[in-house]
């Protein structure tokens, strides 16, 4: 805040605030900070209230502190344009969780007002990082997903570069005789893949590189520098965003020896069966005889801890489709399908039903125990636990193993990123790239790079087409936002970005290692090389930095230190402990709002500060809190691990790792480790707050007041 800045503070007295606290006293408080007495209004969010604010803004107020309700409501009404910084202090919610007209409640709201003033004083106006960006989309992989993404982006007016390692487009679908139906007549349908490939090849906005691979990718969204290895040599291209649609690999037959794979004649995978069918008449491999009976064995490798622990999603429909091929070729042929659960979700059920109605197709649940040769090229399958209630033996002319899929990302080698954190999209489990599953499936850990199709999750062709179209949107969107200096998810629209005071950098690598998005590269001396357009503004680097040299214009270590130092700490004799709560603003802060809406009562001795992500927790704040005389610190962040809920994937996990090193610091201060506690808190945990906070207050009571209280100013 500079001399030219004019701060105004407003207190709303509506929604019980005026009836719960001494507003007159509160209004005089800003004077301690050289700020004029607070304006008051009984209905600040109403027309007259907003009018009052607008008038002051038009007369020069450019920093406005709204001490009223939570910042989660009425942001639009309290928006006075980009030149006016607005900060919100949730007096209403503080009043709702506290006893009215109580000395402790008054101290609570006074502290919140002070913290709000200090925060606003320490806030600067973000200046967006704006560059002229490349809008082309690079698509890696020319199968159904890649071609769909390419066409979607090209139809949206973007230039597209499509890199395919094979000599022709089409991917897995090119090998198919037909696709299974998704609607309508419930008969296998033409793949249409050749026509689609023609469309891609002839599209004026799509440049196709066949027999080519990515040699390297460096840079950031809007500025990816890509080297493509083509048969003619290396080609340097530039792209704004990337869709990785490198598909899947069918599980190898050699790994399915327990089902006769690779060891028994005429036991083949469904991928091989498809090739045979696509070539013409279905003949069994050993003797080119037309089979009069074929057995399908589902979950060959899938749903098996020893092989692929997941379901591959497409195999049930594939076997039903292939059963149809056989029945079409020879109406007298018998088909057996042995499954564990027939998985034909949604309308696919109608195709299953149709095949169930075919007398030539026998299907049963069961566990296949063995597949052996039965002479003359035939096979014998032993199936336990069938619906017939007994172990059955079935002889067939050939057997098809419905082998599952493995993500092509499993073995890497697709992107060759020059990123400090590794060459490919980070994996979450089973070789599939990490994404924020359920609500934000595209939210990648490498900004501007989106996986789509079977590389990302086991899915069929129809789902891959949808996925690829969605990924194309995210790629376009990423560049659109970046070009305006705005962040993408989860802080969509944020124009701040981290700035580093390099002269004090010790090359400790904390920021380059911890950023969930791989924003920093390193030079030879390990000095961080930021790529601001990769940044998603979580502040993890700021929290990680022991030198405290990373800050955002409107979010900094200093800002929160100052807020913590603004908390009033009564002397030990007053028996008013103080507990600082640092809480994730997406989940924990709304939980506090919900507790307020429900009028749950919380200890008046807590002081809650919202953080962008708990990952931005800088350990110095704990030192500040204890040096100031606060008695304890509670940290609320999202659940982490494989089933993480953190929207920055790693934020809360990294914060808790930092805490594991805390004991030493506390020990130096002769403070008990119980004074700091991390609690995973979800947005719907409002009901748990009184208990969690109450328990912690008991701990603080037990360990006693912070001995630094008397030294604190």
């Amino acid at each position: 805040m500079t001399q030219a800045d004019a701060m105004k503070v407003y207190i709303c007295t509506g929604c019980d605030i005026g009836a719960s606290v001494d507003v007159d006293k509160l209004a005089k408080l800003p004077a301690q900070f050289g700020v004029a007495e607070a304006g008051r209004h009984p209905f600040l969010c109403g027309e007259a209230g907003v009018q009052m604010l607008r008038k002051d803004v038009s007369q020069g107020a450019n920093r406005v502190l709204i001490a009223a309700c939570s910042g989660r409501v009425y942001a639009d009404r309290f928006d006075f344009g980009k030149d006016v910084l607005v900060e919100r202090t949730a007096l209403r919610e503080a009043a709702w969780v506290s006893a009215p007209n109580d000395a402790d409640t008054q101290l609570l709201v006074e502290d919140y007002l002070k913290m709000g003033i200090v925060k606003l004083q320490k806030t600067g106006k973000p200046e967006p990082y704006i560059r002229e960006l490349d809008e082309k989309i690079l698509v890696v992989g020319g199968g159904i997903a890649g071609m769909t993404a390419a066409l979607a982006a090209a139809d949206a007016g973007r230039g597209v570069l499509l890199v395919e390692k094979e000599a022709a487009l089409g991917g897995f679908l090119r090998k198919l005789k037909k696709r299974f139906p998704v609607d309508g007549v419930w008969e296998p349908v033409e793949t249409g893949i050749a026509a689609k490939a023609d469309e891609v090849n002839n599209h004026p906005s799509i440049k196709v590189f066949l027999s080519s691979e990515i040699a390297s990718v460096s840079g950031q969204p809007g500025e990816f520098d890509v080297t493509v290895k083509t048969p003619q040599g290396e080609v340097a291209v530039r792209a704004g965003a990337i869709v990785q649609a490198t598909g899947f690999k069918p599980y190898e037959i050699a790994k399915l020896a327990h089902l006769g794979g690779g060891t028994v004649d005429n036991v083949i995978t469904s991928a091989r069966f498809e090739e045979i069918a696509a070539a013409g008449k279905i003949l069994r491999p050993s003797d080119s005889q037309e089979p009069s009976s074929v057995a399908f064995i589902q979950c060959a490798g899938s749903r098996d801890e020893k092989h692929l622990p997941y379901c591959s999603s497409f195999c049930c429909m594939t076997s039903l489709k292939q059963a149809r091929y056989i029945r079409e070729q020879n109406p007298n042929a018998k088909v057996y399908i042995f499954y564990r659960d027939m998985r034909t979700p949604g309308k696919y059920e109608l195709f299953y039903k149709k095949m169930q109605d075919d007398d030539g197709v026998f299907m049963t649940k069961g566990d296949v125990e063995s597949v052996t040769g039965a002479g003359n090229g035939g096979v014998e399958i032993v199936v336990k636990n069938t619906l017939l209630g007994e172990t059955i033996r079935v002889k067939a002319d050939m057997a098809v193993l419905a082998a599952g899929m493995e993500s092509a990302a499993k073995n890497g080698g697709a992107l060759h990123l020059t990123y400090r954190q590794g060459p490919e999209l980070p994996e979450l489990n089973y070789g599939f790239p990490d994404s924020h599953f359920v609500c934000f499936p595209y939210e990648t850990r490498r900004t501007g790079i989106y996986a789509a199709g079977a590389v990302r999750h086991p899915m069929d062709a129809a789902q891959s087409e949808i996925d690829a179209t969605g990924a194309a949107l995210k790629a376009i969107q990423c560049i659109t936002l970046a070009a305006a200096g705005r962040s993408g998810h989860p802080r969509s629209g944020d124009t701040s970005y981290p700035e580093i005071a390099f002269e004090r950098c010790t090359q400790c690598k904390r920021c380059t290692e911890e950023c969930p998005y791989g924003m920093y590269d390193e030079d030879a001396k390990a000095t961080p090389q930021p790529n601001p357009l990769r940044c998603r503004r979580c502040g993890t680097c700021m929290g990680a930095c022991p030198q405290r040299i990373i800050s955002f214009k409107n979010y900094s270590v200093d800002m929160f230190s100052a807020m913590i130092k603004a908390i009033g700490v009564p002397g030990e004799e007053e028996n008013r402990p103080r507990v600082l709560i640092l809480a994730c603003e997406n989940d924990s802060m709304p939980a506090f709002d919900m507790a307020a809406k429900l009028r749950l009562k919380l200890s008046p001795h807590i002081r809650v500060i919202g953080l962008r992500c708990l990952g931005s927790l800088n350990m110095v704040w704990l030192g500040d809190a204890f040096a100031k005389g606060l008695d304890g610190v509670l940290l609320f962040g999202c659940k982490f691990g494989d089933e993480y809920q953190c929207h920055n994937m790693k934020g809360s996990e990294l914060a808790s790792e930092r805490l594991s090193k805390l004991e030493e610091t506390l020990g130096r201060m002769s403070l008990e480790p119980e004074r700091v506690r991390f609690v995973p808190l979800a947005i719907d945990d409002a009901h748990a707050l009184p208990g969690i906070i109450g328990d912690f207050m008991k701990v603080i009571e037990r360990v006693g007041p912070n001995p630094f209280k008397e030294f604190a100013d």
Binding site: G14, C15, C45, G46, C69, R72, A75, D76, E135, A152, D155, A156, G157, D183, R303, P309, Y310, C311, S312, S313, D341, R343, P345, G346, K347, E349, L350, N385, L387, G389, Y430, F437, V438, C439, Y442, P458, Q463, I466, D467, T469, G470, A472, L473, K474, I476, Q477, T480, L481, H489, P490, S492, N586, D587, M594, K597, L598, K639, E643, I683, D684
Partner: protein
Amino acid sequence: MATPAPKYPVVVIGGGIAGITAAVEAAECGAKAVLLEKRAHLGGRVARMHKYFPKLCAPYCGLELNFRRIRENPDITVYARAEVAGISGQYGDFTVKVKLQPEMVNAKCTACGKCAEACPVERQDHYNYGMGTTRAIYMPHPMAFPQWYNISRKACRGKECNKCVEVCAYGAIDLDARETVFEMKAHSIVLATGWDPYNGAKLQGLSFGVSPNVISNVMMERLASPEGPTKGKLLRPSDGKEIREVVFAQCAGSRDENHLPYCSSVCCLASLKHAAYVREAAPDANISIYYIDIRTPGKYERFYHKIAADPKVTLIKGKIAKAEHDPETGGVIVTAEDVLAGKKVTRRADLLVIATGMQPAAHNGIAGLKTDEQGFFADGLARGIYAAGAARLPQDVSATIMDATAAALKAVYGGRP
């Protein structure tokens, strides 16, 4: 050079997770978006879920982020209590006729809650699927967005009562408010009208609507929620007794020629999730799930394994034929076939949860759009009109979000129908 931003907004019909996603994703590409929701609050069906599978995380976590994206983006306009009365025109130049229900509570509402304290009328709580009551002026959930109250026009006694008007310090209530109709231009339209649970009462023999101890899967979501009618306590609905035996009937309506011929895609995972709710709320209860096939595709398999490994959970291949009131225990007697054992079994249960499927929501007023036999919007409606989410196909939240993101691209850039 990129296509310029469309002149008119992308109009999204339906404010559930599909519609929210489509609107937000379109707007973050630089288009303007209008989100029309027929209820007073956004969130649709997912806002009424206690947790999502497979992470058992709270739907409001993702909704909160999306609400924030809506709040902070001036390119998105939300009309709640809005229904579509007609669509005309073509891609790039549609006209959408919107009917706004009377705005009896307007945007001046601060959600302070004084009105509900004053309101003397109790009404059945539809948000909680008829379990429990609210006042005639109510907020369905403390996190509801927008944060304003709503009045049930059916239940409200109007100006002769007027108590809410009297206590509202902000002039936010107008009991004389009238329905308004207006037209807006649209670049394109996303149909995200979602789904309704299949009516369990149509399933003869399962005693849904007869025995209070037979509930549907969507009701289970509300019973498990701390904001639900029982504040998250799981007790026998008929008498509040502790629950010892819970039975789940899968495919209640789905995969059944007489009801819904398709698979509803989510019910297996939903019941497995409900088993996790029961394990938490009633740790001593035994859980039996009767199924035709357990359908947990992709990585969901891991969630299935986790739940199935619990010794308190038993999965039985077979269909429940009958459920009746049990005069002896006050619970339910369930008759089922155990297919693998090849026999008929009867079981006493305290609670029977029927996994009712999803059917496309009624979309009155958007007449003339092609649907399939089941009422799902057909693919290839017209250039500029795209269906997404459960309005198009029975699908789960994550698939719906992919679908809605894809629809947003088509809606902004005029993709192939």
